[in-house]
């Protein structure tokens, strides 16, 4: 393996010394891209438009209490007896977890064991959970994306395994773009081993270019925006 590393890197260094690249202007790093586009004033309206264009259902709720009622109603619509959920402090809605418990719906944590057989058993036990519930670190208005970072109590599988994903987002978490998100979270790669930008429900067009939703990930995404 060491030989592979040595050989690859020495070939690269040798070849790069050998010649110049084809005409493409400067080889200097161009720096950051300076957009001339003015950021829209109403980020909530923009993200709503983008999410709806992606077939995501958006719910606007005035406060935590209304958001909690909305989430419970969504669970009931799906007949969910269990949900795969992030821990309370990450749901962007104080009191939501307690309300779910009080409503008689089981909250499954996103925990996966490391051992092979335990992991398989755990996955088999949660595969039939119908709804996943998460918060989000941010919403990206220009693409209609949710930015989720993994961490303790914030598993990836909540937004991945069940056929329905419900995400709770506060209006002040919406930023204009991924670029703005990176500016606000310059150390996002240190915050968790996984950052995912979710832009709509799972989809495929592999068969005859026919758009079909929910092939592997959730086919239905609900975003509850508070504020």
């Amino acid at each position: 393996m060491t030989d592979g590393r040595f050989n690859v890197l020495s070939t690269i260094d040798r070849q790069l010394r050998r010649g110049t690249l084809p005409p493409s202007g400067s080889l200097q790093h161009p720096g950051g891209f300076a957009s001339r586009q003015a950021a829209p004033v109403d980020l909530v309206a923009q993200i709503t438009r983008e999410l709806e264009a992606l077939a995501v259902t958006v719910h606007h709720e005035a406060d935590d209490r209304a958001a909690t009622a909305r989430v419970l109603a969504l669970f009931d619509e799906r007949g969910a007896s269990r949900v795969l959920a992030w821990d309370p402090e990450w749901l962007n809605c104080p009191g939501l977890s307690n309300a779910i418990d009080a409503h008689g719906i089981g909250r499954e944590p996103c925990w996966l064991p490391a051992g092979a057989s335990e992991r398989r058993a755990r996955l088999a036990a949660i595969d039939d959970v119908r709804v996943g519930l998460t918060g989000a670190l941010a919403g990206l208005a220009d693409t209609g994306s949710l930015a989720l970072v993994s961490g303790p109590g914030r598993g990836r599988i909540a937004s991945l395994l069940p056929p329905v994903h419900v995400a709770v987002l506060r209006a002040d978490q919406i930023v204009p773009s991924f670029g703005a998100f990176l500016a606000a979270h310059p150390h996002v790669a240190d915050e968790g081993s996984n950052l995912v930008l979710i832009t709509g429900p799972s989809r495929t067009a592999d068969i005859e270019m026919t758009l079909t939703r929910g092939v592997h990930g959730p086919g239905h995404v609900h975003v509850v925006i508070i504020g």
């Binding site: 161009p30 925990w111 051992g115 994306s145 995912v196 495929t204 092939v215 592997h216």
Partner: protein, 493 residues
């Protein structure tokens, strides 16, 4: 990189005589091109972003050694492993070794062009590892023992009836194949079962971020996330050229990738992975929760451990001929971000489809990349499979000058005497005539008369003798009755 046993022109003939393929190609490429057009039209800064992206790629490729070392250090710092494969053989051996170290029996795989290039599945099968392709298109390719024909839409060449037939072979009922959503649901159930029991996930990598040691994997279906989340071990295969310096640079690339490929602003899941699961070491997670009650115990015991994700991350950097392109005429092809737009835009690809190229990288990009990585001998026909119309250069998000490199490869095949003798003779003759105005005019008159005799409605379906090779795959236009020079003089200059 598998070479089809048939020669290039036989494959092209076969493709052109397949009406179902023609219909499928037309439907798919039209849809992809119009999707891309709509996506770019709604992107006011497209041109500026493309220029910027090109400069990022040029910079990164020009300092590739530096960025690879930085990437390696950053991946190590996050607890991931980096492996270097000089050749396809080394790459598959590394993956087989990782599988054996972790006692892997079954693996799930998300889409990876590099894995096709190195023929990974066959090698893992020999090592006793079952690999399940999980991208819907690649799964169908695997079931049919076929090859993908497009780098983004692998089964662009198949219709639903072909696929329904394959699914019946897997136990699908009439209801399962009644329409595309039902077929997709059938595949979901089958593949989900594979995901739940797999020991290892194998992915590609759209981009590696040198600064943070992150890997970016873009999928629409979500199989890329399942592959890199559920199994204990994640192995990512990535060409050495796939790096960008920073997350901000990644942002620029992401603005172009989805739009160029399908017209989407972003792929549904843009998955950025920085190391394996944090805080859970080895088997300590074995005491983890099986229910809500156990969760508290798990949290207490695990402290700051991440809830899920792979315990081990291995990134395999694959060279396989890429480093040899640096500093040369073809280095620019390494800027490619694999969006597939040049395939969709190419009039040759639109007609013949991906299989005719005989390589895992079809279309204009493949016509440069394949001979670049494998050498011209055996692939010398690919650079000829172009009208040099420039549609590929026009549509490329990072403005790669593919026609320039196709010409350079054509010149190289002549130098290497790989060009057929009749073509070399024809060009020699043209060269002689072009510098003798009277002879040239005479030849023009002769050709105009002869072609008009053979043509119907201005097109010749079949040229005589050796020249018929040209008309096997395409019509030849009759010469105009008035030459350019005559017309020029008539219009009084």
């Amino acid at each position: 990189m598998t070479s089809s046993p048939l020669n290039f022109y036989t494959r092209v003939d076969r493709a052109l005589r397949d009406p179902a393929l023609g219909a499928a190609m037309e439907r798919a490429t039209k849809k992809l091109v119009s999707g891309r057009e709509a996506g770019m039209a709604a992107f006011p800064e497209a041109d500026a972003v493309r220029d910027h992206a090109r400069r990022i790629r040029a910079h990164t490729i020009g300092k590739l050694g530096h960025y690879l070392r930085q990437f390696e250090t950053a991946v190590h710092a996050r607890g991931g492993h980096v492996h270097w494969a000089e050749t396809a053989e080394q790459a598959v051996a590394i993956v087989a070794e990782i599988a054996s170290q972790h006692g892997v029996r079954t693996a799930v795989k998300s889409k990876s062009m590099v894995s096709e290039e190195i023929d990974l599945n066959a090698a893992l099968a020999r090592a006793g590892v079952d690999v399940l392709e999980t991208d819907l298109g690649e799964f169908i390719v695997q079931v049919d023992k076929d090859h993908p024909s497009h780098i983004v839409a692998p089964i662009i060449h198949k219709n639903r009836h072909d696929i329904a037939k394959s699914f019946r072979g897997l136990g699908a009922t009439d209801d399962d194949v009644i329409d595309v959503p039902q077929m997709t649901a059938f595949a979901r159930r089958l593949l989900r079962a594979g995901f739940l029991k797999a020991d290892m996930g194998i992915s590609g990598g759209n981009f590696g971020v040198a600064e943070t040691g992150s890997l970016c994997i873009c999928t629409n279906e979500g199989n890329g996330r399942l592959t890199t989340t559920l199994p204990r071990v994640h192995v990512a295969l990535m060409g050495i050229e796939r790096l960008v310096p920073t997350l901000s640079d990644l942002d620029v690339m992401l603005q172009l990738l989805g739009r160029s490929a399908t017209g989407q602003k972003l792929t549904v899941y843009t998955n950025i992975i920085s190391g394996p699961r944090r805080g859970a070491q080895g088997a300590t997670g074995a005491t983890g929760a099986t229910g809500a009650q156990g969760a508290q115990g798990a949290q207490g015991a695990q402290g700051a451990a991440e809830s899920d994700g792979p315990e081990h991350l291995h990134i395999v950097l694959v060279d396989n001929g890429r480093s040899g392109l640096l500093g040369g005429e073809l280095a620019e092809i390494l800027y490619c971000i694999r969006c597939g737009a040049c395939l969709n835009a190419c009039p040759v690809y639109q007609q013949v489809g991906g299989h005719a190229y005989g390589s895992v990288y079809p279309g204009p990009v493949g016509a440069v990349l394949t001979p670049g990585l494998r050498g011209l001998a055996g692939w010398e026909e690919l650079p000829q499979a172009s009208s040099l119309c420039g549609a590929c250069r026009e549509i490329c998000p990072v403005r790669i000058d593919i026609p320039r490199m196709l010409l350079s490869l054509r010149a190289e095949s002549t130098r290497l005497r790989l060009t057929p003798a009749w073509a070399t003779f024809g060009l020699w003759l043209l060269g002689r005539l072009a510098v003798r105005p009277r002879a040239f005019r005479g030849a023009q008159r002769l050709a105009a008369r002869a072609t008009r005799l053979l043509a119907r409605d201005g097109w010749i379906r079949k040229l005589p003798g050796h020249l018929s090779a040209w008309t096997r795959q395409r019509d030849f236009p009759a010469f105009a009755s008035e030459t350019f020079m005559q017309r020029w003089e008539r219009r009084g200059r």
